[in-house]
């Protein structure tokens, strides 16, 4: 995953490309510089040879005239203070090629260069030949080719060596500059990421560079359209609730009045009871469908942490005073004075109501349903646990209970929608519904855990 991310990184791409181009440019520049340097060095060395020949020739001729009687070749004396490791050697030769005078470094035998003025080069030396006294004497100055090669190698090293340090330093510099340069993109990225979780406020960053303004405008337009669509969905769900609930309420109330006004032994009493029972079922089903429509309208998502304690208390109070469930709710919120979660308070209430109702209707009428909280620290977001004492639900069925119209017992009183609604809402908000059977630390029972989404930065 990390590798994939690195592969797609804009910073990596820019740094890599700039570094490659820069390195190649430097290497090409160095190569050209070396070529020019080699040429210039050759000229300088040749000039040196020429000057040496010009300076030595008169001295050598004088020496020859003075000591010409002795056996050839003569060696001109050198000062003791000068070390005998000079690079340049010379020979004075007559027109026939015989060596008349030579330097100490010249070795035995004549140079291989022909007696022709100008430069000559063999495998070991580069020679310069000069003539004098009507072409009867020739001076030949030789310099080892290896000397020139060594000078060239040292020059190459002097140019290349700094690159070994400069290229990594440049990569670091480029990386830093690119990161700084892309800072506005990072800021925009953070803004857009924050908008993904319920915050539909337009992005307001006038300081962004001109190149990013079209993106900001496009994202803001999209956010406005999303906000409008979400508001329309939510309004529709709320209006549907009103339009559907009121006529059912009227029908139920009228039916209950009808039953109340009927004489005790009226033949139609049973029929009126059936109508009332059907209306109760219709009421429950419509309630679930409205909750489902709300869940699908994306009601759960909010931008900030919400205090869910009022919703928790009101929902539990509703069940506690319902004559069907009286004395069955056992609550323990010790150590949890407030309940925080990044979820819409109404969506949370829908989830809580469904898991409590589920626990109540799928256990014996006398068995308590335990409700408690865990987590809620900076490290662990809060969770609400609701557990009953039902028989253990097989894992195969447990895994499917969050699917719509999926029931543990097909003849149960549940709508088959409750846990599906809870699962949808919790996922939407970034939380999780966890189902356990047996309940935690118990041999039996069913436990639903609402793992509330915490803050992005620090958990609730």
């Amino acid at each position: 995953m990390r590798i994939l991310k690195m592969k797609n990184s804009l910073i990596i791409a820019i740094v890599t490309r700039v570094t490659v181009v820069m390195t190649l440019t430097w290497l090409l520049g160095c190569a050209l510089a070396l070529l020019v340097m080699q040429d210039e060095m050759g000229e300088a060395f040749d000039s040196g040879l020429q000057q040496t020949a010009h300076r030595i020739l008169p001295l050598a001729v004088d020496y020859l005239f003075e000591h010409g009687d002795g056996p050839a070749p003569h060696r001109m004396p050198v000062t003791n203070s000068v070390p005998n490791d000079e690079f340049v050697a010379y020979q004075i030769r007559d027109a026939k090629g015989a060596v008349l005078v030579q330097s100490f470094e010249a070795g035995i035998g004549a140079f291989s260069a022909p007696l022709k003025p100008g430069f000559f080069e063999d495998d070991k030396f580069r020679y310069y030949t000069e003539t004098t006294i009507s072409d009867s004497l020739f001076i030949q100055v030789a310099e080892p080719v290896a000397h020139r090669h060594e000078a060239l190698r040292e020059s190459i090293s002097a140019i290349i060596a700094p690159l070994v340090v400069l290229i990594p330093l440049s990569i670091i510099g480029i990386w830093w500059s690119v990161r700084r340069g892309l800072r506005p993109v990072t800021l925009l990225q953070e803004d857009i990421r924050n908008r993904g979780s319920g915050n539909m406020m337009p992005i307001d960053r006038p300081e962004l560079p001109d190149e990013l303004h079209p993106i900001v405008i496009a994202v803001n337009n999209l956010l406005a359209r999303l906000k409008s669509a979400l508001t329309a969905e939510r309004n529709f769900a709320a209006n549907s609730a009103h339009e559907l609930r009121t006529p059912i309420a009227a029908a139920l109330a009228q039916t209950q009045r009808l039953r109340a006004e009927m004489p005790a032994q009226d033949a139609n009493t049973a029929r009126a009871e059936h109508i009332e029972t059907s209306l109760h079922r219709l009421k429950r089903l419509s309630e679930k469908l409205l909750q489902l429509s709300r869940a699908e309208a994306g009601v759960a998502v909010v931008g900030d942490l919400q205090d869910l304690s009022p919703a928790l208390l009101l929902v539990i109070e509703d069940f506690s005073r319902d004559p069907r469930y009286i004395h069955r709710i056992a609550v323990d919120f010790t150590g949890h004075d407030t309940l925080l979660g990044k979820i819409d308070i109404d969506a949370f209430a829908i989830c809580l109501r469904n898991v409590i109702e589920n626990a109540l209707i799928h256990s014996n009428d006398d068995d308590p349903v335990r409700i408690w909280a865990s987590g809620g620290t900076e490290a662990i977001p809060a969770s609400i646990h609701v557990a009953n004492q039902s028989p253990v639900v097989p894992p195969r069925i447990l895994a499917k209970l969050t699917e719509r119209f999926e029931r543990n017992n097909p003849s149960s009183k549940g709508s088959g929608l409750g846990l599906a609604i809870v699962d949808t809402i919790m996922q939407q908000a970034g939380g999780k519904l966890v189902l356990l059977s047996p309940a935690h630390n118990r041999d039996s029972g069913f436990e639903a855990v609402l793992q509330l989404p915490g803050d992005d930065n620090s958990a609730a």
Partner: protein, 218 residues
């Protein structure tokens, strides 16, 4: 009790009204906020049953207005808005309870009784006065352990006295509990029901304060 029902859905309102009247309560039904505002300025009610989505506005506005002018009449919201945030909004505006449609009429009666008891300063539905035992939640009265039956109208008068034990209630206050707003009443109707009650529960609990009204001995 004298109850103001503010509900625009006629069929539902009629059923609620019939049910409350069958329990011996006096009910005035109004379908819009404007009428309700005017009526609440001139008439005192024991409880308001308030719908929120009304043709001329939101019931919360009415509730906020009456609370602002110091009217503490208990109010139960009846609404199709089932969201917890709506409910918190309603309770914060000064509502005493919140019933989401559709609801059972029996549950509505229980909620009204609970709110009424809370306002009477005695939230306990079981009371003892001398040899009387009264279960207000279930409308049961026992005299020396023997259950007696009260009619809906008799209970309405007795309930008014039960909610303010020791206080003197005027004849007019007891009449309000008996009759629908605007209904014709006879001049001696209250005396008739007090007399019937005394026959059933004995003469001691209800004392006549001459020229002022009646008082339930606490």
């Amino acid at each position: 009790m004298r109850i103001l029902l503010i509900e625009d859905e006629q069929s539902l309102a009629q059923a609620i009204k019939d049910h409350l009247m069958a329990q011996g309560e006096a009910v005035d039904w109004l379908p819009a906020l404007a009428d309700a505002e005017d009526t609440l300025r001139s008439t005192r009610y024991d409880i308001i049953l308030l719908d929120l989505n009304l043709p001329d506005g939101n019931g919360i506005t009415l509730l906020q207005n009456i609370r602002k002018r110091g009217d503490v009449t208990p109010c139960v919201i009846l609404t199709a808005q089932d969201q917890i945030s709506d409910r918190i909004k309603g309770l914060n505006a000064g509502a005493d309870d919140y019933l989401v449609k559709p609801f059972d009429l029996g549950e509505m009666i229980a909620r009204l009784a609970a709110v009424s008891r809370r306002y009477s300063g005695n939230p306990n539905p079981l009371m003892e006065i001398g040899n009387l035992e009264i279960d207000q939640a279930n409308r049961l009265v026992f005299v020396s352990g023997r259950q007696i039956d009260l009619t809906a109208r008799e209970w309405a008068v007795f309930d008014q006295l039960l909610r303010r034990p020791g206080a003197i209630l005027s004849k007019r206050q007891l009449e309000d509990a008996l009759y629908e707003f605007g209904a014709e009443i006879e001049s001696n109707t209250v005396e008739v029901y007090i007399s019937r009650l005394r026959k059933k529960i004995g003469p001691e609990p209800i004392r006549t304060v001459r020229g002022v009204g009646y008082r339930l001995e606490g």
